[in-house]
């Protein structure tokens, strides 16, 4: 069974190769090939999952060694896969939600003439993501990490004819590079510290390593996670990434790419456990992003960007939980999985709405769509209820667990983090209710599009609605299923470890507080967007609203600090390069050239001069030989 692991990755990789190399003759069937191979991977995942369930909890780690890449001295880079409970969870999420999104894309991309290529990229994305979560060492993980970055670049910029999409792709790539730098430095530090990249040696020797080193490694890993998971300060790419086709947004923001950072932190738990400072930094990043994303989500009128802000915020929850250590690891992953369901559902729903509304994204031009798109309305609505933490739906269990864990951190930190998490829950309820009300309720505010076509909203085709329905079912029941008898906790505990922590207030009180926050958030939203009509043109709004519309000035900040600063730095470097480095290089070149010109004159074409030179040479040769003997 071990050797099925490689096939998990091989299936979508094969799909990517076939679709991208196959060329135009595969246009007619390309999307089905892609969907089939992605589903194959999912089925393989299920088989492996069944196999794991058949074993004892302690023996659920499988490894498959394929080959050793470069054995040089102490440097050993193995291509080895590890399948344990943590990676199994990710595999099922990635391939399951991924396959649904493939199916959805069949309908969504129907009129795109580059659909085959799109599916090739999707498959590439899946393969890279699977490599990331299945790698048994950090170096191989890095390969997957970069592969994900590449595939996301290709997918975000898929509509490359739009300058905004091309720019967004570039932005995502560049911001991710900053994070990648962190990961590569972390890997190098690991090698110098532990002499290995493999999870086994690295994670089992954290006890006998200095805390300073571990903190450095932890912070670098956190930087990497910030890049991939769009956490402050590397969050700016996520909103722009909405330029990609909607299935991409669903794939990137729900199931895969953004969860990579959480995976990295949870996988490296042993390092963070031994480096409390790094751990604290993780929680701070999580808490800040949680609020940051939520505020951005409140102000956006673009439905996908509002959801993107929400994603940022929800990943903030996960990072916060992961930063809590063994108290939170399990819940971070649990929220990750439930979020995978409802956020993918929400994005697919948003895509379905856009599909029916001539690709309009401004929610101010929606309204009253519930009767026109009933299936979308119901599935989106269930996703909505799940994300705000409506009792007994998925989000309720996972988010509540994180809030409890935050309080359980203890001390002042516990109170602050718990308070932030609660506040986040209230804001989540507000902005999601706002999205719901502006889209499906109120009166029609539909506008003709740029070509003057009136929108005729209609329900989407089956290939699109079926995935939405499946995801809605997941959004409703997954949390309860995981919660029942602490199943998820027992499943993941052998890998991540778990401790209860020490909560100053009881679980029931916290749940009650969460529900109060929920009601307050929904209520405010209802008062502002349900009772009063929504203006088609956005009002000027308060200072905070205006800042939030500009993503809380993140791009302005980046521009002033990084771009300007970078320009100054490069200008001075260029100056040094031109004067100093080029001076030396050009000087050498000019010197050699001048010497060449001078030596060339010796070659004057007269045989007599040549003979003299030979004679001189021979004389020197003889003299030198004699001299050598004499010395």
């Amino acid at each position: 069974m071990d050797n099925l692991i490689a096939l998990l990755i091989a299936a979508p990789l094969l799909g990517a190769a076939v679709l991208l190399v196959g060329g135009r003759r595969l246009d007619a069937v390309g999307h089905w090939i892609g969907t089939l191979l992605s589903t194959t991977s999912f089925v393989l995942g299920l088989v492996l999952f069944a196999g794991l369930l058949g074993k004892d909890a302690e023996n659920r780690t499988l490894t498959q060694h394929l080959w050793t890449w470069i054995p040089v001295g102490g440097f050993q880079a193995d291509v080895t896969f590890r399948l344990d409970q943590l990676s199994m969870t990710f595999v099922l999420l990635i391939t399951g939600v991924g396959s649904l999104i493939h199916l959805y894309s069949v309908g969504y991309m129907e009129h795109d003439e580059r659909r085959r290529r799109f599916f090739g990229y999707l498959n590439l994305f899946l393969a890279a993501m699977l490599l990331l979560v299945l790698a048994d060492n950090y170096l191989l993980l890095y390969v997957g990490w970069e592969g994900v970055g590449l595939a996301s670049y290709l997918l975000i910029g898929f509509w490359q004819h739009k300058p905004s999409a091309a720019t967004a792709a570039k932005k995502a790539f560049l911001v991710n590079r900053v994070g990648d730098m962190g990961l590569s430095i972390a890997i190098m530090l690991m090698f110098t510290t532990f002499g290995s990249f493999a999870f086994g040696p690295v994670l089992s020797h954290t006890g006998d390593t200095s805390e300073g080193r571990l903190t450095a490694i932890g912070l670098m890993l956190l930087l990497a996670a910030c890049g991939k998971s769009a956490q402050v300060p590397l969050q700016s790419w996520l909103g722009d990434a909405m330029e990609g086709p909607t299935p991409v947004s669903a794939l990137i923001h729900a199931a895969t790419m953004v969860t990579a950072g959480v995976y990295l932190i949870v996988r490296s738990g042993a390092i963070f456990n031994a480096a409390p400072d790094a751990q604290l930094a993780v929680t701070v990043v999580g808490a800040v992003t949680l609020i940051f994303g939520a505020i951005v989500g409140c102000a956006k009128d673009d439905i996908k960007k509002a959801l993107a802000g929400s994603t940022m915020s929800q990943i903030g929850y996960m990072v916060l939980a992961a930063g809590l250590g063994p108290i939170g690891y399990v819940f971070a992953i649990m929220h990750l999985v439930t979020h995978g369901f409802f956020k993918a559902g929400l994005f697919l729903g948003a895509g379905s709405v856009m599909h029916g509304m001539n690709d309009e994204v401004d929610m101010r031009k929606y309204g009253a769509l519930r009767t026109y798109m009933p299936i979308t309305f119901v599935t989106f609505g269930l996703g909505y209820l799940a994300i705000i933490g409506f009792p007994f739906l998925s989000g309720f269990y996972s988010k509540d667990a994180i809030i409890e864990a935050a309080f359980a951190k203890g001390g002042t930190q516990g109170w602050i983090l718990g308070g932030v998490a609660l506040l986040g829950a209230a804001i989540t309820a507000f902005y999601m209710t706002r999205v719901m009300l502006m889209t499906f309720f109120g009166e029609k505010r539909w506008q003709p599009d740029a070509q003057g076509h009136e929108p005729h909203p209609h329900e989407s085709p089956k290939t699109m609605t079926i995935p939405m329905i499946v995801l809605a079912v997941g959004s409703v029941f997954a949390g309860f299923f995981f919660h029942l008898g602490d199943r998820f906790l027992h499943w993941l505990e052998p890998v991540t470890g778990h401790s209860e922590g020490d909560s100053p207030i009881g679980a029931t009180t916290i749940t009650g507080a969460t529900l109060v926050c929920l009601v307050v958030g929904v209520g405010i939203a209802w008062a502002r967007y349900g009772r009063k009509p929504v203006p088609v043109v956005a009002p000027r709004g308060s200072l905070l609203t205006r800042a939030a519309r500009r993503d809380l000035l993140q791009d302005d900040f980046n521009h002033v600090v990084l771009v300007r600063g970078g320009e100054h730095l490069t200008r001075s470097l260029v100056y040094v390069d031109h004067t100093l480095v080029d001076g030396v290089v050009n000087g050498t070149a000019a010197g050699v050239g001048g010497l060449s010109g001078r030596l060339r004159r010796v070659q004057n074409g007269f045989a007599r001069s040549y003979a003299v030179s030979m004679f001189g040479g021979a004389a020197l040769l003889v003299a030198a030989t004699l001299l050598m003997r004499a010395v």
């Binding site: 070659q603 040549y610 030979m614 030198a624």
Partner: protein, 549 residues
């Protein structure tokens, strides 16, 4: 003088004659050389007896068959272990049949065969008066520009003598690296030099330049030969023998059975040092090492390009072979004396070739200076004085000769109204107009520059490694620096070909016959195979790297 005295003179002279043993000649082991020599003589007979119209075909046939047969003989000898276990000295001590001999003979024969293809090319020049013409003068003896020359062209004369001349040169080159006594060495030197002087003078176009090159080459070659011959005399004076083995024994002081008449004059170290330096100088002239290199650019530029290609490749192989044998078999006991001197020569050869090449504007001169720099690189391997040094030099020579012939073959293709367009400015934008030819030439240039995945890299790596292991690390540093300088002008040509605008009146690329295509194709194939998978050939060279003593 009285009758009896005359009689006694006659009888005393006659007596010892009957005591001379019949020389024992191992014809089988000398077969490669003998086949080529025989074919060369047959070629002379062809010139005399075969009608003019069929001569070209007859000559090409004879040459190709003989070179193939000779190569087969080399392979057969090697397969029978003459390169390793059965290596020995044949022909009464004159010829060594051992690994380096056979490896270099094989290389020379293959290079000669490929060179022959370029000699036989007759489609590049436009037909003159309905006759196909090759690269060689219609009638070598006619004065350039004279009426008799025009008449010869009109009559469709061709100098088919080039084929026997080529075979003679190849035969000399086969003997040169395997010569095991100084006299044989000298005879071989002259046997391969004289045909080359002649061949250089035979260009069809730019005949004056060609003749000037030939005269220069001849004068300087004769000058160098004089040094060599004088050196041989001095060494004989030192050791009382021409034989390599015997001289080596005298150098080591292990000699036995010295003729008492010679004992008094033997062992004078001044004779040894001066003599060996002068012989080495003659060999350095042939490989084109600084400061004995000055003939190279002029001759390479003036000679017909097929001759240049052949000469640049095969002469270098033969001369380095002889140099290796001389230094490793005759003078190993003297290495503390010659190594520092050779260090200096290698350094100035590498740097000098690379630096002067930078300002060249003619592609043939550029390649000439490049060949000088390469001679320096190979010298670095020679200096290693180890088995690895020998094998790396053997490998380098094999790779280098095919790159060289291929590169010069490409030069023959780029033509304008005046024949070959060798000025670099005319090559601008060639990559736009003839991407394939430019790409092939780029491969050769990259191999010259020693870029990985070409034979040039594998060879350079091998010689530098051997040199570094042999304690010549500073030499390797200089070698790498000169490689960097050299890379500049190789890459510059590539940039010129691919990234410059083509000139409106620029040259065209002639479509060659399969002969030149084969020469270029073999060049590219060998370059890439030795670059991508060099191990088999490195092993082969390594097996072949032991000299018989």
């Amino acid at each position: 003088m009285s009758a009896t005295a005359v009689h006694s003179l006659w009888t005393t002279a006659a007596d010892p004659i009957s005591k001379i043993d019949t020389p024992k000649i191992e014809y089988g082991q000398l077969a490669p050389t003998l086949i080529v020599l025989g074919a060369a003589l047959a070629g002379v007979l062809v010139e005399a007896f075969v009608p003019r119209r069929s001569r070209y075909y007859a000559q090409v046939f004879v040459s190709v068959v003989s070179l193939c047969a000779a190569f087969a003989a080399v392979v057969a000898l090697a397969a029978n272990g003459y390169g390793t276990t059965k290596a020995h000295i044949a022909a009464m001590g004159a010829i060594a049949v051992d690994g380096p001999s056979l490896f270099l003979q094989g290389t020379i024969l293959l290079a000669g065969l490929v060179g022959l293809f370029t000699f036989a090319e007759r489609r590049l020049d436009p037909e003159a008066h309905g006759n196909r013409v090759d690269s060689f003068a219609a009638q070598a003896a006619s004065v350039p520009g004279s009426d008799s020359e025009k008449a010869a062209v009109r009559a469709g004369f061709t100098t088919t003598e080039v084929f026997p001349l080529l075979l003679f040169a190849i035969a000399g080159m086969l003997v040169f690296p395997s010569a095991n006594d100084l006299l044989t060495l000298f005879v071989a030197l002259e046997v391969f030099s004289l045909p080359l002087y002649l061949l250089c003078a035979l260009a069809r176009r730019k005949r004056l330049m060609s003749q000037e090159a030939a005269v220069k080459y001849f004068l300087l070659g004769a000058f160098a030969s004089a040094f060599t011959l004088f050196g041989i005399a001095l060494l004989y004076g030192y050791a009382g023998s021409m034989s390599y083995g015997r001289i080596a024994q005298v150098v080591d002081g292990t000699v036995t059975g010295v003729d008492p008449a010679l004992a008094g004059t033997m062992g004078n170290d001044a004779l040894l040092l001066i003599g060996s330096a002068m012989i080495v100088m003659g060999l350095l002239f042939k490989v084109g090492a600084v400061p004995f290199h000055m003939w190279t650019p002029d001759v390479y530029q003036g000679a017909p390009t097929p001759v240049t290609g052949f000469m640049a490749a095969a002469t270098k192989v033969a001369a380095f072979g002889a140099l290796l044998r001389l230094l490793y078999v005759v003078l190993p006991g003297l290495r503390w004396d010659w190594r520092p001197v050779m260090w200096a020569v290698a350094v100035i050869t590498m740097l000098g070739g690379a630096i002067v090449a930078i300002t060249q504007t003619d592609i043939k001169r550029l390649l000439a200076y490049s060949s000088i720099a390469h001679a320096g690189f190979i010298l670095a391997g020679v200096i290693a004085t180890s088995k690895d040094g020998v094998s790396s030099v053997l490998f380098y020579l094999a790779g280098y000769s095919f790159v060289t012939i291929g590169a010069f073959a490409v030069v023959t293709l780029v033509r304008d109204a005046g024949g070959e367009a060798t000025h670099l400015s005319k090559w601008a934008g060639l990559g736009r107009r003839s991407p394939l030819v430019a790409a092939v030439f780029a491969v050769f240039l990259l191999a010259f520059a020693g870029i990985p995945l070409t034979s040039g890299f594998a060879g350079k790596f091998a010689v530098f490694k051997a040199a570094a292991d042999g304690g010549a690390a500073p030499l390797v540093v200089v070698g790498v620096i000169s490689s960097a300088i050299a890379a500049f002008f190789y890459i510059r040509v590539i940039v010129l070909m691919f990234f410059s605008e083509p000139r409106p009146e620029g040259p065209t690329v002639a479509v060659p016959s399969p002969l030149t295509m084969a020469a270029i194709g073999v060049g590219v194939a060998v370059t890439l195979v030795l670059g991508v998978a060099p191990q088999y050939f490195l092993d082969l060279a390594n097996q072949a790297s032991v000299f018989v003593r």
